[in-house]
Each structure stands twice: as structure tokens, then as C-alpha cells.
Amino acid sequence: MEKYDVAIIGGGSAGLAALKQLSNLRKQAILVEAGNKIGSKNVSGGILYSKKSKKGHVHNVEDVYGDVFLREAPLERKITKYILHSTSKDKVYSIDLTAAHDYESNFGYSVLMNKLNAWFADQAAESAQKFGGGIISGVHVSEIKFDEQRNTSIVKTDELEEFEVKAIIAADGVNSEIAQISDARKKFLPSQLYQGVKVVVKIPEDVINERFSLKSREGVAHLFAGDVSLNHIGGGFVYTNLDTLSVGAVYHFDSLLENPVEPYTLVDAMLKNPMICEFIKDDVPSRRKIDKNLPQEEQLRIRFAITKLIKSWNELRESYFSKGKRDERVKSGKYQSVEEIKEKLDSIREQLTQKYGVIFVTDYVEAEYSAKLIPDGKRCRMSKPYHRNILFVGDAAGRGIFVGPRIEGINVGIDDAVRAANSISRAIDKNNFSSDYLGEYYSSSVEESPYTKDMKQIDKDYLKIFLDASKDVPKDIISARYSTVLKLMSSDTIRSVAIKFANILGYERLLPMVESEDTYVKVPIEIAERLGKTVSKTYEPTIPSIAERIAKLKFNDDSNPHIKVLKPQSEFMKKLVTLCPTKCYSLENDNVILQHEGCIECGTCSQETDWKHTRGEKGIVYQYG
């Protein structure tokens, strides 16, 4: 049997950071990822933060990867504006929350996980190779056996011969199978989770700059609360990427169970909001139906010709509206000048309209639909995130930050990963992998993390930023609901005492007061109606159906179903018919049946199913993430 020092299970940003950090410490580690390549199963909102906490030291992404991170990593845009919108129909009231975004922050970049994790993987693999380790993708871990005598673990997978390791870092996400196999924790409950759904919308780079008044490579985060939530606890977001927008919605799972709505309907509610409509619009070629009376091969020829022209038009347009890319085209000698690109672009367009009757309309283009569960660290973080020689990090340990609009996961996972790597490195040096020396050490290191504090306590300074930002909101809207709280918050001294008291009470007891329908729905709607500006839309977006969205996704279909329905008649499963983001369930004769191959492995149904990730290389293959 082959032997290695450390196995990291899961190639998301936390697992990759662990591998990189272990290599930085000159330790041998192999990372095993189920997706056919790194990043293909990762989804995020997403913004990646680097923090400078007053509460202690956090390990940031740039500490792990070095200066090269800011120079070369495929980051989308540096977020410089952060705005919260309250919505009600066509009314929007906006509050600038940039100060909250900047709080304790070095930077925040919008990111797309597919690209970013691929870059992390390149970096980590190169380092790991020097110490006899590396990254292995397309491998799904199915079993871990602890060898009491040797104090090691035997890792079994669906694809490879089993191998032996001294320690394991479980970075396999919110639906961690390692946690289940090892019995380290129970599955997270709906009350501990949020469900996020996102679409990536394509828009050329320069158009984004102009529309959002951004300098090159600068970005903005727009947050939404109010009627877009269709009465759920949570909210929506629009983040600018380099040449795409991430439009998404994140809602508390409990509130979805209480009032089940299809996840895509929640994203659609965002897309239909007039302000967002105007954010996402673009010039879109619209095909005319091909004459069915033509011979079949002629129909096919025309279809192929149109597809090819539209593809060329899109590619060229993307370059034309991007300084970097158009310069590159000219430099490569393919075009003499920028004007020539424009001419070619116009000529393709003319060909499409004249020859093939394609018309160009104002609409939007969706590139990818995705979904994921997000653990609310306040409610579900593992109190001791280890089991024997297995250390849990990031989502797998239930460690995500949810404080009002502040949702952070990637940076938390990276911080955990560094702590786990450091703990294992120390254990290797002393060849001591006992719970006392490894697990407990890691557990206390995580406990010291400022992120853990953010999951336990209210930060009075952060709260003040909110109060300041919302000072223009008429008091009566808020006071009807939160008068006591408001009084306590009215001056710095009282607030300080009140928060101290609140923190003794603990988040768990205070949550229902704050994370309520009032906060996320009613108050924003009232604010929008009373104070909001009217935004009107100039077109009606053609929103794809869920079937069209699934058809666009790439799957490597697995003939072995990875999910088994355990309670086909339970209330929960019946709600799943609505709550599965890709409509994998249907109700037939009072039985819930798993019927679709479009599973995107979000885990929404894992509560009452026998749920596993797909085997190696199988299942969803995201292009953006």
C-alpha cells in the first residue's frame, strides 16, 4: 500500500490553501478532489476578502500564496462600493454600506471559483510536487478506516487503490461526507443553513465599467432586501465581475421550508426587479425560426451558419469592449487597428440581419445557473472541528459568517486551512498524531480565530456602521418593531453595555429578534415605498426556464444514482419537490421520486436522503462557479 503523510479531501479554496500551506512548511500532502478538474464543482457568491482583524490574527489568502496572488490570480474586480437596496415593486431606496465592506478589511475582490481555484491549484500543486505530494482530481473518497495499531488512516476511494496517511484534512464542503463517514458530526439542519442560488450574466467589460461608473478592474457589490425575497429571510446580490455579473439570492433554509418557493423563482424575482433589469441588459441577437418547409439539411446548414456567426460576433464583441483584449488582437496582427475590429463586428452583424434575418434586441444573456448550501457558523460550527486525526475546515466544519449583509466563507475556510496545516506540520515534526497533540491543538487554534468570534458575538463597531449608514431612515419605520433595541443603541455608552450584555446572552437567543421577516422583508418594503426612487425598466428580460438552464449546464452523467430517497412520503421531501434548485424531484401517487439527471449536488435534499457526492469525474461540471 502506498503511504503519504497527509491527505486533504476536497479541492475547494480551503483544501487548496491547506495543501499550499503544508508545502510552505515543507510537508508532503496529497489533495484528492472528486471533480474532473479543480474548481468544476465549486460555487461561491462570491467575494473573497482579506482581513485585518482587531480581535487577533487571521491567515489571509495572500499570506498563503504570497505576492504573486495580487499580481497574477484571476481576480475579477476589486470591490470599492457596497450598496444596500430596499425594494418594493419599482421603488428602490439605497444605502451606501461601503464603510461596512471596508471594516477590518484589506480588500475584497469579486471572484469566480472555477477560474480562481484552478489558479490556486496550479500554485499549490507546484509547491506540493517538491515534497512528493500533489493534486489528484476525479477521485471520490468512499471510506476511511482508522488503524488503531499504527495510528494511521486508510483512505479508500471509488477510483484508486487504497492508501495510508497519518492525518487528514476534511475540506469537502457543507455536505461533508467525511463528517458522515467518520461520525464527526450530524448533518446540518435546515435551521443552520442558507440556500444560495446564482446566475452568471454575460456583459462586456467596458459596458460594465460604464453602466456602473467603474474604473477599470474596480467593482461594486449591490445587495437587495424587500419584495425581491418573496417573503423569505435573506436577500439578493449583484456583484460585478470582469465581464460578467453574479446575480443571486441567499435565503434561510427554515424560511424556505415555511414558505416553499422554487429557488429559480427567487432568482427570477431578482432578475425581474427593474433596477437589476437595467443592470443586466445587453445587445442580444435573437434567432428567427428557420422555415420548416426547407429540406432538413438546408435547415441544418442555416442553423449551423447562424450559430457560427453569432459565436464569432460574441467573441469579437467581447474583445472589442475590453481594452486588454482588443489591444491583444491588434498586437497579434490579426487586426490592423481597433477600427478594423469594429468594421468586422459590424459586418458580421449585417450578415446576420440581412442574410439570416437575425434581429438584435435588448435582453440579457445567462451563462450559468448554480446553487449551493451555506452553513451559518453562528448556528452550526463544530465546537471541536476534528475527529481523531481528521481536521475539518471551512464549510465542512460549518464555519461561515452570516452577520446581516456580511456573508463570508472563502476567507474563513482559508484561515481554518492554515491553522489545520500548521497543526499537522507540528504533529509530523513530533510524530504525534494523538487527539491531545493534534486535534485539540487545532481546535483551540480555530477557537482563537477572529472569525470564530464573529460567529459568536456581536461586534459593536460593525453595528455602529449600520446605524450610521441608516440614519436617514425615518425612525418610526424601525421603532415600531425595534424600539427597545433602538433605545439601547442610541448612544455609544449604552450601546457598549447593551452589546456586552447581549453577547453574554449569546447569538442563539437574540437571533429570532433580528433575523426575522421584519428585518429582511417588511422594513425594507416600507422603506422603499416611503423613501424609494422609482426605477423603470426599458424592456422585459427573457428569463430562461429551469429546463433551459439545466440544458445549458455541463454534466458528466453518472449511471449510478448518488442519492437515495429514504422517506418518499415525508413532509420535508414533499417540500423538496419545490425546493430542489434543478427540479430533480416529483410527486407521484403521494411518493416523492428522484427523476432527473440534472442534479447539481447542492445538498438541499441531503437532510432526508442517503446523500453522496457523485463518483470521481461524474456529475456537474461548472464553467464559472
Binding site: 439539411e297 452523467d557 449511471s559 444514482p561 407521484e588 421520486i593 428522484l594 427523476q595 432527473h596 439527471e597
Partner: protein
């Protein structure tokens, strides 16, 4: 060309597990038709020669004669029991150039060098075998043919005829459907009559797509002669050792059937009963049974036997399963999802049975029978029996 150098049509038989591969008889049928009209047209008496390699295949020679072979050249040897490219190529090469065989076939002395024409099956054996044999015989080969004619062809060609008009007599026109499926490319194998590169290219040969041509009605009274060929085996040609042969799929074989009956989630009201009905329909049409992808995910709990037999990926027709093109495709309770349509759209004739006239399958079929399968299938089966289909496997 000296008349007599190149004569007869040699057809290479394929045998698996002691039985003829169907394409062998299909090729013989087409060979018979072609040679008969050839002999009439040119007033000649050339023969259809079946070339059979193997071991203990005595009964097969008679079958070949009944199916149109004038002669069967049978090379029997234990080393020829299983196809191996090297030794098969050598033996066929020897047979094709054997003057003694030609003498028996032509019943006279001749200048025989090689066959005039040669056919192989366009399958896992024949494609490769034809390629190597034709290098051995230094002539041309057209692959994947589905139509054949013999004509005299007038041609002016820069290389072949040095730009002059030349008539190529008795030329085999070999039609190959191209990759798009829209076009037929006709391929000829021609001697170089240009002096600077003069060369003779015979046999004119091709590999023939299985399932295209019809075998002739077997005739027990047909006369033919078996020529036992004593094979010269060179140990150098036996380098490949077959260690093991394992059948990996026994249940489902769409290619063997001309009709396919498929079912989808429409069976849901009474899965077991409906599958029984579908089995009956498939039996009456001599059809293989297919399913849509969702069925393979076992959406209904039905008895183990039926589940293991039908709710499996091997039967799936569509992008995640098999692409098929039977003569008749019957879709029962299938809505017609894109993925499924991709697997069956090349079928010649499509019949759908579905209660919902708005389901997309309606746009993908030739006949749409509106109705519940429970009601429609028994009537179809009854009517099929009434109209007494005679369908070959």
C-alpha cells in the same frame, strides 16, 4: 489488361463463435445479384466465391452455397479458429492469388492473377482485415459502402489517364454515404493508364455496411462446390496469442433488430402491467426494447426481475445512452425530451403512443397515436397479428 488476369467476385465470410455473422450472407446476396447481371450484360460466366476461414465449420459451406455462392474456398485450420489479423491476412492473400483455385473455379487454365472484385464486411473484423489484405494485394479499397453498380465508365483524369479519355470496363461503382449523411460519394478503384505511373489495381474491393443488403432466399437445390484449401501456416504469423475471450453483453442488442419499442415514464400508472404490454408489442414486432434515461434511474419500485431487465443504462436511448436508427421506432409514453430524441431521430419511421398531443414527441414522429397505452397497445398487437407481419430477425 489481359483478359483473364482478374476474374470473379471473392466475398470474405465472417464467423464468430462458430456461426456466420449476418453481414456475410448479406454480402453474398448482393454478390449474387451483381454477378448475375454482370454475366448477362457481358455474356460471361464469372463466379461468386465465398472465402471461409476457420475450424470445424463444415455445415457452413453448404449454407453459403444455398445463399448464392458458386464456390466456397474453405481454409480449415485450428489456428484459424479465431480471427487474428496477421494470419487471416496472409491466408486470404494466398487464396486470392492462388492459380489452382482459380483453375478449378474457371474450369480452365487462365492467366489468373487476382480476383476482379472483393467484398468484406464493414465491421470490427472486416474493416481492418480488408485494409491489410489490400496492402498485401496492392490494390485499392473503399469502406462503408451501401450501394454497388458495375458499369463501363468513360473517364478523363489527370493522373489515371494522363488527361486522355479512357473507358474503364466492368468498373465497380462503390457508393459511400459521407459523414454528413446527406451525400453519396462514389469511389472507383482504377488502373493507372498513364504511362509514367502505369500500374494495375485489382481487385476492386470494398467493405459493406452490415444490415444494408438482403440475403437471397436460401435454395437447398443450388449447386456449388467446396474447395478445401490447405493452408500454409508460417509460425511468424502466429505471434498473437489469444489468452481469453469474454462475452460482456448478452441482453440488449439494438443492431440485431429492425424495430425498437421504447418506453418512458408514461408507464407510471401501472408500471409492471404496462411493461408486460410493451413486451407483448415488442414480441409481435420482433423488436428490441429500449427506455428513456429517467427509466434507467429506477423511478418506480417494481419487481426485481423487471427492474433488472429494463431499468438499466444499457437500454437507454439518447445522449446518455445509445444512438440507434431502426427501420421502425415505436415510442410508448415518451414525452420526447431533447436527450432522447438525439438517440432515435435517425430512425426511418417513428410511431408514438401518447395521451398528450402537446408532448414534443409529436414533432419527432410520423404517426402519433393519441391514447393511453393500456388501451392502444392491446389493439395494436391484435391488429399486427391480423395483418400477419413476417419479419426477419
Amino acid at each position: 489488361m489481359t483478359e483473364g488476369n482478374y476474374q470473379h467476385l471473392y466475398v470474405i465470410m465472417e464467423v464468430e463463435d462458430g456461426k456466420l455473422v449476418p453481414v456475410s450472407l448479406e454480402m453474398l446476396g448482393e454478390a449474387r445479384r451483381l454477378v448475375d447481371s454482370f454475366n448477362r450484360k457481358y455474356n460471361l460466366d464469372e463466379k461468386v466465391v465465398a472465402v471461409l476461414l476457420g475450424y470445424e465449420l463444415n455445415d457452413i459451406s453448404q449454407t453459403l452455397i444455398e445463399h448464392g455462392a458458386d464456390f466456397v474456398v474453405y481454409a480449415e485450420h485450428p489456428e484459424l479458429m479465431v480471427y487474428r489479423n496477421n494470419i487471416y491476412t496472409k491466408v486470404i492473400g494466398q487464396i486470392a492469388q492462388d492459380k489452382n483455385i482459380a483453375k478449378i473455379i474457371s474450369s480452365e487454365d487462365s492467366n489468373f492473377k487476382k480476383p476482379r472484385y472483393m467484398f468484406f464486411g464493414a465491421d470490427n473484423i472486416g474493416r481492418h482485415l480488408s485494409s491489410t489484405v489490400l496492402v498485401e494485394l496492392e490494390s485499392g479499397l473503399a469502406s462503408d459502402i451501401n450501394k454497388l453498380e458495375i458499369n463501363d465508365i468513360k473517364l478523363t483524369h489527370q493522373h489515371k489517364t494522363d488527361g486522355k479519355e479512357v473507358t474503364y470496363e466492368k468498373t465497380l461503382e462503390m457508393y459511400r454515404p459521407d459523414f454528413s449523411g446527406f451525400l453519396w460519394t462514389t469511389i472507383l478503384c482504377l488502373d493507372n493508364k498513364n504511362h509514367s505511373i502505369e500500374r494495375e489495381y485489382h481487385p476492386q474491393s470494398c467493405s459493406i455496411i452490415p444490415g444494408v443488403f438482403e440475403p437471397i432466399e436460401p435454395d437447398k437445390k443450388r449447386k456449388g462446390q467446396v474447395i478445401e484449401y490447405t493452408t500454409k501456416i508460417d509460425q511468424n504469423d502466429l505471434k498473437v496469442k489469444v489468452l481469453n475471450r469474454q462475452v460482456i453483453k448478452s441482453e440488449v442488442d439494438f443492431d440485431r433488430y429492425r424495430a425498437v419499442v421504447s418506453f418512458g415514464r408514461g408507464i407510471k400508472d401501472a408500471p409492471e402491467e404496462n411493461i408486460r404490454l410493451i413486451e407483448e408489442l415488442a414480441k409481435s414486432l420482433n423488436a428490441e426494447i429500449g427506455v428513456s434515461l429517467p427509466i434507467s434511474k429506477k423511478p418506480f419500485s417494481i419487481n426485481q426481475n423487471l427492474s433488472a431487465k429494463y431499468m438499466i443504462l444499457e437500454r437507454v436511448i439518447g445522449t446518455s445512452g445509445r444512438k440507434i436508427s431502426p427501420m421502425l421506432y415505436v415510442a410508448i409514453g415518451i414525452s420526447g425530451a431533447m436527450q432522447h430524441v438525439a438517440g432515435m431521430k435517425d430512425s426511418e419511421f417513428v410511431v408514438a403512443v401518447n395521451p398528450d398531443e402537446n408532448s414534443p414527441i409529436k414533432d419527432e414522429c410520423d404517426i402519433f397515436i393519441k391514447g393511453r397505452m393500456e388501451d392502444v397497445i392491446p389493439k395494436l398487437v391484435e391488429e399486427i397479428k391480423k395483418q400477419s407481419f413476417v419479419i426477419q430477425a
